[in-house]
């Protein structure tokens, strides 16, 4: 069934392929993204007093140029990765840059540096890891490395915004969970490919339900344990949710067994219910989500301020620099979407969501075009990871779901998050490069 569908995908993607070969689409889209970035910086330069004298225009110009240089380099080496993802990322990270500049030029400058570093890492990823397949050989190393990276902050970590998930390296702080999520996808992809047959069929049966043996499902339960570990010791609800969601998505993609998903969700619900009863901070998150107003001066302050920002925005927004998103604590990281909603209105907020939708659409398309299961699983895992993270934080700050603090990919302030997501982008592009190059 799987091999049967391959031919159709080859035919349907050949048209895009001709274009991706010369990367014309990427160039044209970047040409569209450039005025957006520059206009944003120009508005800041003209209309926002605190952003003046901080070389807003130069930073904007440099960012645009950096993205173009990546494009030109790829064109030169004949890189065949997806042509849409880099321009989408350019718009998302430029939006983040403009808003960080507007909120606090110092954050803007640092974010600018991290975008440059991120693009450098993206180039390295597209160069060094272009034959990504070898990555599947080291799955237990990932598991070990990931576990260590997650456990370290429990002992040596610093608490930021309620989550104890940061490692302090003096010069900069490092949020290991942002990188572990990539290892997670790689590990799961390798592991699921190896054990797919057993997991799908099951080795023993209880009544009519066939279930796999302990050697197959123990690692999966371990994954659930890791999520809970995050939840309990690092108080990082958001990351736990993303890990677990990605895990379920990949298990479903590999096995097509809804029973796993239901079983997983059941485990998650049990974990969530237990932590609701055990931990005060989980209870208060839920209470605030249900009705933040009684906590307007205390624990609900941040969410209420986010509501005010979004409510003040209306359809068109107050326009850049004219609102008061600074009233929201942590607006530069988890709550940056509320700032966008205030100053760019519903149109701006919806545009960001639509960009993530296109990102996810391209990611799904990439994994549909892969020729083996490891690549397909990895691509869909990365896509699910990024999409889930964007969905969870946007839902959190708008009150659709209880708030769990994670960064909005490419937009929120933070080097770890930005660099990790650029690596993710590079791996996704490498997968699409392979599929396109093999034709």
């Amino acid at each position: 069934m799987i091999s049967g569908s391959f031919g159709q995908h080859h035919i349907s993607s050949s048209a895009i392929l001709r274009a991706t070969g010369s990367r014309v689409i990427e160039r044209n889209l970047l040409l569209l993204a450039a005025p957006f970035t520059l206009a944003g910086m120009l508005v800041l330069y003209l209309g926002v007093p605190q952003a003046r004298g901080h070389h807003a225009l130069l930073v904007g110009l440099a960012t645009v140029t950096a993205f173009f240089l990546v494009h030109l380099y790829w064109k030169k080496i004949g890189y065949k990765g997806d042509s849409f993802l880099l321009p989408i990322t350019a718009v998302l990270s430029s939006t983040g840059l403009v808003f960080l500049y507007r909120l606090n030029p110092a954050y803007g400058m640092r974010q600018f540096a991290w975008i440059l570093i991120g693009l450098g890492v993206l180039l390295l990823t597209s160069r060094l890891l272009v034959d990504f397949r070898f990555l599947s050989d080291y799955k237990y190393i990932y598991a070990l490395a990931g576990l260590i990276a997650l456990i370290l902050p429990i002992f040596f970590g610093q608490e930021q915004g309620g989550a104890k998930s940061w490692l302090d390296f003096g010069l900069f702080q490092f949020q290991s969970s942002e990188f572990v999520k990539i290892l997670l996808v790689l590990f799961l992809a390798s592991y699921l490919v190896e054990n797919k047959a057993v997991l799908t069929a099951g080795t023993r049966s209880i009544g009519r339900l066939s279930i796999p043996g302990p050697q197959e499902w123990i690692p999966l339960v371990a994954m659930w344990g890791v999520s809970l570990l995050l939840l309990v010791f690092q108080r990082d609800l958001g990351t736990a949710l993303i890990y677990f969601g990605t895990f379920l998505a990949m298990v479903y993609v590999a096995t097509a067994r809804v029973s796993y998903v239901i079983f997983g969700l059941g485990l998650f619900m049990a974990g969530a219910a237990a932590s609701y009863h055990l931990f005060g901070h989980v209870r208060s998150r839920v209470a605030i989500w249900l009705n933040p107003w009684p906590y307007a001066d205390t624990a609900g302050y941040q969410l209420i301020q986010s509501y005010f920002a979004i409510g003040s925005g209306g359809v068109l927004g107050t326009s850049l620099g004219q609102g008061y998103p600074g009233f929201i604590p942590l607006v530069h990281s988890d709550f940056i979407f509320s700032a966008i909603c205030e100053e760019m209105g519903l149109l701006g907020g919806a545009a960001i969501i639509v960009l993530f939708m296109i990102y996810v659409y391209r990611g799904i398309k990439i994994s549909l075009n892969t020729k083996d299961e490891f690549a397909a699983l990895a691509a869909s895992g990365f896509t699910a990871l990024l999409g889930l993270q964007a969905f969870i934080i946007i839902s959190g700050v708008t009150g659709l779901l209880p708030l769990t603090g994670v960064t909005l990919p490419y937009i929120s302030y933070g080097g770890s998050s930005l660099v990790a997501n650029f690596i993710l982008l590079g791996l996704l592009l490498n997968i699409s490069h392979e599929a396109a190059a093999d034709l």
Partner: protein, 464 residues
């Protein structure tokens, strides 16, 4: 596997679609209500940036202006407690009140051309400003009225009956709006209720000043009463209930009954009017309506018609019973008689400008109600002139000017009677209508009438 990937993709795009729908609902439908919440600090921030418009009195004296210190605006009220009830206040802690609150959008430059102008100003980092307001109030007369009240509980209202322009509206005790945040807790706790604008929110029995309304109602029902005489034995019995008069007034016509404030006559007229006739007379003078000055006002109240049995009618007709009205409303009663039966809609704000000085709102005299006919107004005016000439209101007399007036000494459960006076001047061409009340201060003729006289004299000297 590809099929599963496709399903995953559809699920994720579905989740994002839900998010877009929810965001639209949040921002467009619920947004305005959320943003209007008092916890939202954006409004105060806006306040601090905008050069809020200045409020002037009729002669150009500043009543409220914004001073900038360290880049933040602070509101200053040069006339302090004298105008506090009208101008109101803006406080980050205790909200907004008075004309400051009612005309917020204009003063902050959020109306008309100022909306666009201030948007551009903000982008260009220039000072944003709001529009100025000019009131009908005369700050000097207001000061005099406050002095005449002398810290006693009471209120004074002076209006131009020809236009409805409010020249004086004083309420005592008052508060200093410049120090509101510091004194708020004591203001709220004060049993004298200094935050209440007694001129518009007061609920007083009007006493004998109300006989003007009863007279107008009775004359409208039976015009021949004008030629009739009434006999006053010093009391009246209604349904076996004996109502004592202040004196034995003997044979009086309706003018003299007004002049000497004969309770017997007006109690009988009230009983004769009946519940519907009495209510009609009250409503004709707009006593149960809020005239819409832009400051909080309490519409007057009377007993419901099904409870207006003869004894209640007898006492309501002389401004006792369940009749409760504000000084503003009684000033409008005087204005109705002065203006040949027509009440002009009272107003406090003459003009509202935008930040460039262009006039956005301009109030002019507009007819509000026809309280009574010119003939009836003429008869009552005669009675009120006689009251000042030889009756209960002689203390309101002003040398060289014909003043018409009616006193009241309203009994109440709180102690001595409320001293009332309503009147107008000059009688030939009335340009001033006044109402004075002093709570629990004794007789209207002795306490309230002299205040009215001095205020009228001062206003006339200023050319009003």
């Amino acid at each position: 596997m590809k099929n599963n990937i496709l399903k995953l993709g559809i699920l994720m795009l579905g989740l994002f679609s839900i998010l877009v729908v929810y965001l639209s609902y949040l921002q467009v439908i619920r947004g305005p209500a959320i943003a209007a919440n008092t916890y939202n600090r954006r409004f105060q921030e806006y306040e601090a940036q905008v050069l809020r418009g200045t409020i002037y009195d009729a002669k150009g004296a500043v009543l409220a202006r914004t001073e900038f210190t360290d880049g933040r605006g602070r509101r200053v009220y040069p006339r302090g407690r004298e105008t506090a009830h009208l101008i109101g206040y803006i406080s980050e802690l205790y909200g907004r009140a008075g004309l400051e609150s009612t005309y917020d959008r204009y003063l902050l430059g959020r109306e008309g051309a100022d909306r666009i102008r201030n948007y551009v100003n903000k982008i260009l980092d220039r000072q944003q400003s709001g529009g100025d307001m000019v009131l009908t109030l005369d700050a000097n007369l207001q000061e005099l009225a406050v002095d005449l009240l002398g810290g006693r509980r009471g209120a004074v209202v002076l209006i131009d009956p020809r236009s409805g322009a409010v020249l004086v509206m004083a309420s005592s005790p008052s508060f200093d709006p410049n120090r509101l945040d510091n004194i708020w807790s004591s203001l709220v706790a004060d049993e004298a209720a200094p935050l209440i604008n007694r001129a518009t929110q007061g609920a007083y029995p009007p006493g004998s000043t109300f006989k003007v309304v009863t007279a107008a109602g009775a004359l409208a029902e039976k015009p021949d009463l004008a030629a009739k005489t009434f006999s006053c034995p010093g009391f009246i019995e209604v349904d076996g209930y004996k109502l004592m008069d202040t004196d034995v007034h003997g044979e009086v016509d309706i003018k003299k009954a007004l002049a000497v404030s004969c309770n017997t006559t007006f109690a009988q007229l009230g009983v004769d009017l009946g519940p519907d006739g009495f209510e009609k007379a009250v409503k004709a003078f707009g006593l149960t309506q809020d005239p819409g000055l832009g400051v909080p006002a309490r519409p007057g109240t009377i007993a419901p018609t099904d409870k207006l049995h003869p004894t209640e009618l007898a006492s309501s007709a002389i401004g006792q019973g369940e009749v409760l009205v504000s000084p503003l409303q009684m000033a409008l009663v005087a204005a109705a008689v002065a203006n040949k039966g027509v009440i002009m809609r009272p107003y406090l704000v003459d003009t509202v400008k935008d930040s460039m000085g262009e006039v956005i709102l301009q109030t002019s005299g507009r007819k509000w109600l026809t309280a009574t006919s010119p003939q009836i107004a003429g008869i009552i005016k005669e009675g009120m002139l006689e009251a000042v000439r030889y009756g209960t209101a002689t203390a309101a007399a002003v040398p060289g000017m014909q003043v018409a007036g009616k006193t009241g000494s309203a009994q109440n459960p709180h102690g001595a009677s409320h001293a009332w006076f309503i009147g107008f001047a000059p009688a030939s061409q009335p340009s001033l209508a006044v109402a004075v009340i002093l709570e629990n201060a004794g007789s209207g003729g002795a306490v309230a009438a002299p205040i009215a006289g001095r205020l009228i004299a001062a206003a006339a000297a200023k050319g009003y």
